[in-house]
Amino acid sequence: MRSFKSVLIFACLGLPWMIGCPEANADPAGKKAKSIDELAARYDVSSCKECHEEIYEQWEASAHAKSIFGIGARTAATIGTTITKGLMTWPYSGVKKPEDVKVKHLMLCAKCHLPQLEEATDDVAQEIVKAVFGLWDKAIKKESVKKLRKINVNCLICHQKKAITHKWAQGFPQKDAVYGSQEGAHEDENYPNMKKSEILHESVFCGQCHGLGPNFEFEQPSQCATAYGSYLFAYVSEGGHETCQSCHIRKLNKGHVMPAYRDPDMAAAALRFEVDAFGYYWRKNKVEGVTPLAVVRVEMTNKTGHEIPDG
């Protein structure tokens, strides 16, 4: 009887582990990548281009493709200031100098800018840190840019790693599958299966990264985007019912570029902007008398699904 109880307890404790962990990691063996090159190879999407050329090229032109480097290196620069103005100044961060930065520190940014970093060792964190500071060192700038451009939010992040939000109900992403709108076989050596995602077309999918506010799951919460919070609590509450994908992918045929305010079409569609003006003589007071005045009335209606700007 005693031995039966032992087996039962082992089975109960072991089951969630067996269900959860192997599929939760992009690498089936759970081995961590030890270099940027290794991490980039693990998330190599060059084979996607063979069949999805147009979508691939759209993605290449997107901010997602530059998620760690950023547009004009703005993201990399912010990672730099996160280290120098944040981590290195806080007494309990464990970071006194850039060489102390580990994966857990970079996850403040990488949660969204490079979610696959959780599958890498601290050596990769250090390589990223060196590349970030290398952008301001003429001797290694070119090499640093090249390194940071290798890693990004790509096809496999959205269509594989982050394709399921509710993993206890819908299961963990299968390592051999990509997720989209259909089920079936997929002509790819590494991803031979195609699975239908329950959320890829829903706003909650984008909400994984585009922000509710402070990321309280961290010991030191970071806050970047707040667009999803605004979508939920200011747009939907006002009767809005479009999805993120509807405006950023479909309506203006922007596809996987998924542009925002830098795109002239998106900027034009985002806002109704009207100006009215007239002149009159304003009787100010006895000392200053009557002043000829122009009155300008500016009317702005935000037609997007979130505040402009967010942050």
């Binding site: 200031t81 103005k85 402070p214 707040t226 100006v275 002043t291 122009a294 505040e307």
Partner: protein, 98 residues
Amino acid sequence: MPAPGKMGCGKEMGRGPYEKAGLIRDTALPPHRTIIETFEIPFPHEKIEQGKEIYGKPLCNEMDIDVELWYVPFGEKEGPAARWNQLWKKLTKRVTID
């Protein structure tokens, strides 16, 4: 523009994502709502006394007023960070006064 709190403590604003937490104030344009801003701009004028009254006599009867809406992410209209600024909308209105 949202003004996030510095680590959510007190009334000081934070700037980078490493210290921003919550919001102290938000002047961003909210979705689905119309925001109206009014500006008053005096015509160039000279003061003239007429009896006990002072009148502003316009030096011109027409003004072309450029109205520009800018995104200024780092709060600087000029300086190095201004390279991130973006002009969103621009309209010109002619105002006359007799």
